[in-house]
Symmetry: C2
Subunit: 97 residues, 2 copies
């Protein structure tokens, strides 16, 4: 299933900047960055449980915003991209243009 992860992490201080890096790295362990704070992660339910728990451990509720969008298994027809930052289709590796 495809889970879209978007976030706004407060970077006004050093801890926030570190959180941003860790959150991005964690997302990259499971998927790809498609825009600055937007990640597409193709995960099974067990992987999602782990990823979700890690993100909720890392982020700071009073300062950061995390949003998860569940696009399901048949996600390819639900995504449309225009412009720069072409990204490969997570399943086939072909570019989504």
């Amino acid at each position: 299933m495809l889970v879209l992860i978007t976030y706004d992490v407060s970077t006004i201080n050093k801890p926030g900047q570190r959180r941003l890096v860790r959150i991005a790295k964690t997302c990259l362990n499971y998927g790809q960055r498609v825009q600055n704070s937007v990640f597409e992660c193709l995960v099974d339910p067990a992987q999602w449980t782990t990823l979700r728990a890690e993100l909720l451990r890392l982020y700071k509720p009073e300062e950061d915003s995390l949003r998860f969008y569940f696009l399901g298994a048949n996600w390819e027809s639900k995504v449309e991209h225009h412009g720069t930052k072409d990204t490969p289709n997570l399943e086939t590796g072909t570019l989504i243009v």
Copy 2:
């Protein structure tokens, strides 16, 4: 239907900064900003056709990235939010917490 719009607009120059403002305003005409460059727009097909055309007119393919995610009609179970920037449910107005 809910369309999620995410974008990265290059703001290294004045025209890019203007595009960013215009693109955000255009999205706000149809929905709400849930994070810095993430908008949720509840639109019917005709509205989406108009909004999409406007965004594609405004953005600059060589510099900007636009992504559209189609979450359909039963989108409420497909969205999960944590942290700051609570946003009202587009249909009921209640906060998604």
